[in-house]
């Protein structure tokens, strides 16, 4: 059983081709710019959201908060008032449940991508799901991760996964700590291992003003990826305040001109390996 924040049946931006994306609940990093902090924690049933839902879509049953989709107006008030960076709307599903959805739509899909939160925290579910998919369909299996994984778990996942997308917050360790609260040593080690296995499909970096947008950082990160292998694509994403809570919630969207500058620096190094 796994905690599933959301399933998107069709996405064009989470790996190659047409894919189904599964966003899982729970995360082990605390990035300041996180656009979905409501995926960080499991619900502790404090009831704050129940009080604030105007539609009666949330209620208590046996001391636990329950959610009625049919009444929900998708106003996201519950997410905004949750003091615990969680949401009352995630679902508990089995690998079989998710597999069935993918199988039902297999004619229209190239694959499935697991994302989050940090999906690898629920790696047993992924192993089971990907095995089912591999045994019964031609769909490819991708994982979108922050890379903060125990090495033996990563090794297990590699056996059933066709591609990884790594979110690399910063190459410079200090910058990384400033942004996430954690050092990136473990992440880089994992990233390099995946790269060696030929499975590092894409690396993404969100540019946040004053944290990781210096010329030096962009250059280093681009060179790092350039030297890593000959195939991994890199994507730069400008920061947007949408959904962000806490310190950076009032920060403006990353400046367009500045973004272009960063993009051009990286383009010079990575050429066609830098994604638009």
């Amino acid at each position: 059983m796994a905690y599933i924040n959301k399933i998107i049946l069709k996405t064009f931006i989470d790996g190659p081709g047409s894919r189904m994306a599964v966003f899982m609940q729970g995360c082990n990093l605390r990035c300041k710019y996180c656009h979905n902090p409501e995926t960080w924690n499991l619900c502790i049933h404090c009831g704050e959201c129940v009080k604030n839902c105007k539609k009666g879509a949330l209620f208590f049953e046996d001391g636990k908060v329950k959610y009625n989709k049919d009444l929900c107006a998708k106003c996201d008030v519950c997410i905004n008032v949750c003091p615990n960076n969680s949401t009352p709307k995630y679902e508990i599903m089995s690998a079989g449940d998710v597999y069935k959805i993918a199988y039902y739509n297999k004619d229209f899909l190239d694959g499935i991508t697991l994302s989050g939160g940090e999906c690898t925290l629920q790696y047993e579910f992924i192993l089971e799901l990907f095995k089912l998919i591999k045994e019964n369909t031609k769909l490819t299996t991708f994982i979108d991760t922050n890379g903060y994984i125990e090495f033996d778990i990563l090794k297990k996942l590699i056996d059933v996964t066709d591609g990884f997308m790594f979110d690399l917050k910063a190459l410079n360790s200090e910058n990384h700590i400033k942004l996430t609260g954690y050092d990136n040593e473990k992440i880089l080690k994992n990233l390099e291992y995946v790269s060696k296995n030929g499975l590092l499909y894409e690396v993404r970096t969100v540019l946040v003003e004053g944290f990781n947008d210096s010329e030096d950082e962009i250059e280093k990160i681009s060179e790092y990826i350039y030297k890593l292998n000959s195939y991994t694509k890199f994507k730069l994403i400008p920061f947007r305040p949408l959904g962000v809570k806490g310190e950076l919630s009032n920060m403006e969207s990353f400046d367009k001109e500045k973004f272009e500058k960063c993009y051009n620096i990286s383009k010079k190094i990575l050429k066609s390996r830098l994604k638009d």
Binding site: I13, S18, D276
Partner: protein
């Protein structure tokens, strides 16, 4: 006489449009072809409609000349010899297009243009080739300014087809309408090129060639909005039934299926056959057309078309449920279509020699005056379920239509960077029974109405009262207002 003055002095019409309006005024001064009172009543009540075809038809609605034969033999009547190079080939086509009759006066079928022109590629340099094709397309857009003018490409990969797709993307003209026949043998990157073009300008249509060959044989073309008809033939007429209105006069579902629908379709077929009879026997079309004389068309390849539309609202009225969200509604929808199909096929189609004496069944795409009623068997604009579900449901219905049916799937702009993904979805759609479909993005410059395209900017001009070359812009502008076209669901995340 007042009507004539009105046409003459209409400032929204240019000279050609006035001439067309005057000729239909003259035609309509004759009584309607000889039909029963009951059939007439259904027409007056808007239950059956013949799409402004006129009272006394003197030419078939859709004509698909055999341009291949024209290229092989030339034409005595047009004094055109078998073309010997690309210049002559392009010229020969541009000439004959002006002689193909239809309801609007513009040819609804331009041929499998890449297959036709490909053999002449070696007669010109690369640059000439591109320039000629560009001139060819611009000539068609300016001289035949009607978005129902339809060209086909594929299923074989061709240099000409690829150049046309690239040119279309830069020209961004509404005319010609364009279809890509896709078969198992069509290379993926040819289809992807068409996807790229489609995401920019809303055409080409993607045609499930392997499936249509099973129905019509290799020798078919896509004409007008998306009508699948035999080459060297066509359709005498298209008369459509508004299923929403049929539902309104039925007591309940049983009454609809057992009594009202059979009665309406009976009258529909009666009208169709009388119109075909008039064209062949009274107007003696095949005796006066050089296309027939030179065997570029043959009555044995013709049929007539029985169209239906407004299925979504019909089901809503009969069941109180919505197609796309309730399984029962969908079962009902399929039963209705199956029943209508069988009723049409029970009847003899007069001169429908190309379809073994049967009338073709067609999901009609709707016109400007349709208010609150959905095209063909489509789910109401803005009420579509999630895209894969929509495709699966529509796929089950499309198999009943042997002379044309289509659906539109709209993606957001992330599709532009993932042509592979769109290709997978199109192939999945074909696998699930879809015969004809289009795609578009929400920010495209050309807006697909139901079977054709108009430019966003032209619609704005029309609303300001400026005269325009294209009759279909007016149709489009009214359609957008009346049918909520811009509400169509955007597909993306």
């Amino acid at each position: 006489m007042n009507g004539i003055i009105e046409i003459l002095s209409d400032t929204k019409l240019d000279y050609k449009q006035k001439r067309a309006a005057l000729s239909s005024f003259a035609e309509n001064s004759l009584p309607y072809v000889d039909i029963s009172d009951k059939a007439r009543k259904y027409m007056e009540d808007g239950i059956i409609c013949n799409l402004n075809e006129g009272n006394a038809p003197y030419r078939p609605r859709y004509v698909l000349p055999d341009y291949k034969k024209y290229f092989e033999n030339g034409s005595k009547y047009l004094n055109i010899k078998k073309p010997s190079d690309m210049y002559e080939a392009v010229n020969a086509l541009l000439i004959i297009y002006n002689y193909v009759p239809s309801i609007t006066g513009y040819p609804v079928y331009l041929g499998n243009i890449d297959e036709l022109l490909e053999p002449y590629c070696d007669s010109v340099s690369e640059r000439e080739l591109e320039n000629l094709l560009k001139m060819f397309l611009i000539n068609i857009d300016r001289n035949l300014p009607d978005a129902f003018v339809h060209a086909n490409i594929g299923p074989k990969d061709t240099k000409v087809g690829r150049i046309i797709l690239n040119l279309e993307e830069t020209l961004k003209d509404a005319v010609p309408n364009l279809s890509l026949k896709c078969s198992k043998d069509t290379p993926d990157d040819f289809i992807k090129l068409a996807i790229k073009t489609s995401l920019e300008i809303g055409k080409a249509y993607f045609i499930n060639h392997d499936e249509l060959v099973k129905v019509l044989g290799e020798n078919y073309g896509i004409a007008s909005c998306y009508n699948a008809l035999k080459i060297g033939g066509g359709s005498f007429t298209l008369v459509r039934v508004n299923l929403k209105e049929v539902a309104k006069i039925s007591k309940d579902y049983n009454d609809f299926i057992e009594r009202v629908l059979p009665d309406v379709i009976n009258c529909q077929c009666e009208i169709i056959n009388e119109r075909a009879r008039f064209i062949v026997e009274k107007a003696k079309f095949f005796e006066s057309s050089f296309l027939a004389r030179e065997e570029l068309i043959n009555i044995n390849n013709f049929t007539s078309m029985a169209g239906i539309f407004g299925l979504y609202e019909c089901v809503e009225i009969l069941s109180g449920m919505k197609m796309g969200f309730d399984n029962i509604a969908y079962e009902m929808a399929e039963n209705i279509i199956k029943r209508a199909y069988e009723l049409v096929k029970e009847k003899e189609g007069l001169y429908c020699n190309g379809y073994s004496g049967k009338i073709g069944f067609h999901a009609q795409s709707g016109i400007d005056s349709d208010i609150d009623v959905s095209a063909g068997v489509r789910i109401k604009t803005g009420c579509e379920p999630e895209i894969f579900e929509q495709i699966k449901l529509e796929g089950k219905l499309q198999k009943y239509f042997d002379t044309g049916v289509s659906d539109i799937y709209i993606f957001d702009k992330t599709a532009k960077n993932n042509l592979e993904g769109v290709l997978t979805i199109i192939k999945g759609a074909f696998k699930n029974g879809i015969r004809e479909m289009t795609i578009n993005t929400s920010d495209s410059e050309l807006i697909r109405i139901t079977g054709y395209l108009v430019k966003r900017s032209d619609i704005e001009k029309y609303e300001k009262g400026e005269p325009l070359r294209e009759g279909t812009v007016a149709l489009g502008a009214d359609s957008i207002k009346n049918c909520g076209i811009l509400d169509r669901k955007v597909r993306g995340i």
